[in-house]
């Protein structure tokens, strides 16, 4: 994964994304990269599709993998569930080299998946998809009352917030006391 052999793939990503079907342009072989999530299932993604992700694009630019190296060392995203990563990959492939539409109807409707998707997309730095996801999250509470919103988004009440704050303060105080005690013990 951490191998950093210098290859020739630095110029490869941009070309196939713009005009893959154009017959006039000279055929440039599209390079592919591999990613896997928490479930270790490897997904093959074209460099053009991965351009949506600022994080992966930066990694590709910096690492300069050859195709063989990329196949041998898929990018690991251990904090992203396999199905969420699959969604992200699908979205990137769908919107490869296309202008992003104002609305995207292919986003998941399930709330928990949407939330995980927001976190994953935020991590992968896919701006357009993040915009869609945030709008989708906002749509979850459309026309809902405050009580319903509180339930859907798990918003703690003021009392719960205060209790949590108190607890956090207490914990911080205890930790500080423990640290000072340990420091005193070391000094002795």
């Amino acid at each position: 994964m951490s191998s950093t052999e210098q290859g020739t793939s630095s110029a490869a990503p941009a070309e196939p994304t713009t005009a893959p079907e154009s017959a006039a342009a000279p055929e440039v072989p599209e390079s592919f990269y591999y990613v896997h999530g928490k479930d270790k299932v490897v997904h093959k993604v074209s460099a053009g599709a991965l351009q949506h992700s600022a994080l992966i694009h930066g990694m590709i630019s910096n690492l300069g993998y050859t195709e063989e190296q990329a196949k041998a060392n898929p990018f690991p995203f251990e904090n992203i569930d396999g199905d969420i990563l699959q969604m992200v990959v699908d979205w990137c492939n769908q919107h490869k080299g296309k202008p992003t539409p104002p609305e995207d109807t292919n986003l998941p409707k399930q709330k928990e998946k949407l939330f995980d998707l927001v976190l994953a997309v935020n991590y992968l730095e896919i701006k357009e998809l993040l915009t869609y996801c945030c709008k989708q999250v906002a749509m979850m509470v459309k026309g809902k009352s405050p009580e319903e919103i509180r339930e859907i988004w798990m918003i703690p009440t003021d009392a719960e917030d205060e209790a949590a704050e108190k607890e956090a303060k207490k914990r911080a105080g205890k930790e500080a006391a423990g640290e000072t005690a340990a420091a005193a013990g070391d000094a002795k």
């Binding site: 949407l114 939330f115 709008k135 999250v137 459309k142 026309g143 809902k144 919103i149 988004w153 009440t157």
Partner: protein
């Protein structure tokens, strides 16, 4: 399974909040203090709030706001129906919902959410219990415009003015007769007062006009006499107070005002174009009277408009409000159309209005000067002044030619706004004054003698300017004024009456409009 929105990264959370519409944001803000803070930091912008107070402790609260990221045109008001000790009902445009919040909680919450300290409009509708006004004041400690409906009882109207007008900037009252019972009403420091009782005329007196401390007054029905207006004008001309606050006073009467009586004994200049009369006093302040009825062809009783330019004082006098609006509309339209057809070709064309308010640059209107006034020097275009008219004024003007058109509803806000210096153009400097006024029966006014000595109303313009008086309120002794009038030279011809009624409003599109010169 629910998701924890607040655990999202800060940027995503903010973006999500900015993607919500106004109604959802308000609901979200009510979830907790944290959510309220988030909404406060969002791009939510308030346009106005309206609180309507009814009998039986029932309040309707309306919020008109929009998201900064959204198109402004798509906003719609959100209404809250609030009873004391009951949960509120909300209408966001999709039927009413019930939210578990009390009135006292939510009003304070909304004020804090939009970072405002006053409601825009506080409407009192049909209230009859005076003590309830204390509750109203407690809930809405301040408001921008207080509107007291005509169905409120007399006691409530009076108490509401006394209690709530001092915490307001503008006041609209639906009952005229209450005003006379409130001794300090005219010295309230307000920006605007509208007395919209068209049924009963207001007994407005000269003293009221002299002590007036309200910047803009609009009275839809008053029975002030021409004599008092004449007196007021004379006193204003003789006065030198720089602190007279009113900028606009519009007075409507059902009977019409006789211009020759209003202007009797006063030296003035006639501006032919808009049938206005310009008065100038020693310290340079100016007042303009506009005879819109003459513009209309005098088919309605004449009304006059006084204005004092530059130093921001003016007075409007006119007939019934509907007719006034028609008159003003026609007048404005005619100005614009004639400006298109006149000989001044160098003026740039009027740009199309960008929004419902039509803006016309004054120098364009000025170009419509009548060509007969050859002696007038060319007036340079002012740098900035813009004339603004609401479109409905223009719309209404279209209907003036057919008398059977339905009445135009009065607009909610004062609509006549124009810079006075636009009237400066196209003057014909006919100066006249009337024979002296007979002495009035009782001394009403007081003034300092040195003010009168300095200039008589009928003296010529070579008089020295009046030195400024230290007093901030106009007070004149009437007998002094009387003597000054009686000793004045009376060889001047009488004030010309307003131009004779024409059978029809002249066609503004007619090329080369013939100038109407006033009678000598």
């Amino acid at each position: 399974m629910p998701i924890s929105l607040l655990s999202l990264p800060a940027a995503d959370l903010q973006y999500t909040i900015n993607s919500m519409d106004v109604g959802d944001l308000i609901a979200f803000s009510l979830c907790s203090k944290r959510t309220k803070k988030l909404v406060k930091s969002s791009n939510l912008l308030l346009i106005k709030t309206t609180a309507t107070v009814f009998e039986n402790d029932y309040i309707e609260f309306e919020i008109l706001a929009f998201q900064g990221s959204f198109n402004r045109d798509i906003h719609k008001p959100i209404q809250f129906f609030l009873w004391e000790n009951r949960w509120m009902r909300v209408d966001r445009g999709n039927g009413t919902e019930r939210w578990k919040f009390t009135r006292s909680h939510c009003i304070a919450h909304f004020m804090s959410l939009f970072k405002v300290r006053m409601v825009t409009y506080l409407d009192l509708i049909g209230l009859s219990q005076v003590p309830y006004l204390d509750t109203v004041k407690q809930i809405f400690p301040r408001c921008y415009t207080l509107r007291i409906g005509k169905y409120c009882s007399d006691e409530v109207t009076k108490s509401a003015i006394l209690k709530l007008a001092p915490v307001s900037k503008e006041v609209e009252v639906g009952k005229n007769h209450i005003i006379t019972d409130i001794p300090h009403f005219w010295i309230l420091k307000l920006k605007f007062v509208l007395l919209n009782d068209e049924e009963r005329p207001l007994k407005l007196r000269l003293d009221d006009l002299l002590i007036l401390n309200i910047r803009s007054v609009y009275i839809l029905n008053t029975n002030i006499t021409e004599k008092e207006l004449n007196m007021f004008t004379k006193l204003w001309l003789k006065g030198s107070q720089r602190f007279y606050r009113p900028e606009t006073i519009r007075l409507h009467t059902n009977n019409g005002f006789k211009m020759d009586q209003v202007l009797r004994g006063i030296q003035y200049e006639t501006v032919i174009k808009d049938h206005s009369y310009r008065l100038k006093r020693g310290d340079g302040k100016e007042m303009t009277i506009i005879n819109v009825a003459a513009v209309l062809g005098a088919e309605i009783p004449p009304f006059e408009v006084f204005e004092r330019r530059r130093q921001s004082e003016c007075l409007f006098v006119c007939v019934s409000p509907l007719k006034l609006r028609l008159a003003v509309s026609l007048f404005l339209e005619r100005q614009i159309q004639s400006s298109d057809s006149t000989s001044t070709r160098s003026d740039p064309p009027i740009p199309p209005p960008p929004d419902p308010i039509l803006r016309v640059h004054l120098h364009q209107i000025r170009s419509s000067d009548f060509t007969s006034i050859r002696s007038n020097p060319q007036i340079p275009s002012p740098p900035a002044p813009i004339r603004r008219f609401h479109l409905h004024q223009f719309r209404s003007s279209e209907s003036t030619s057919t008398r059977s058109d339905p009445a135009i509803p009065p607009p909610p806000d004062p609509i006549l706004r124009f810079h006075l210096h636009q009237l400066r153009s196209s003057d014909s400097t006919s100066t006249s004054s009337d024979p002296p006024i007979p002495p009035p029966p009782a001394p009403i006014l007081r003034f300092h003698l040195h003010q009168i000595r300095s200039s008589d109303s009928t003296t010529t313009s070579s008089d020295h300017p009046i030195p400024p008086s230290p007093a901030s309120i106009l007070r004149f002794h009437l007998h002094q004024l009387r003597s000054s009038d009686s000793t004045s030279t009376s060889f001047d011809p009488p004030i010309p009456p307003p131009p004779a009624p024409a059978p029809r409003a002249p066609d503004p599109r007619a090329p080369g409009p013939a100038p109407r010169t006033p009678a000598p």
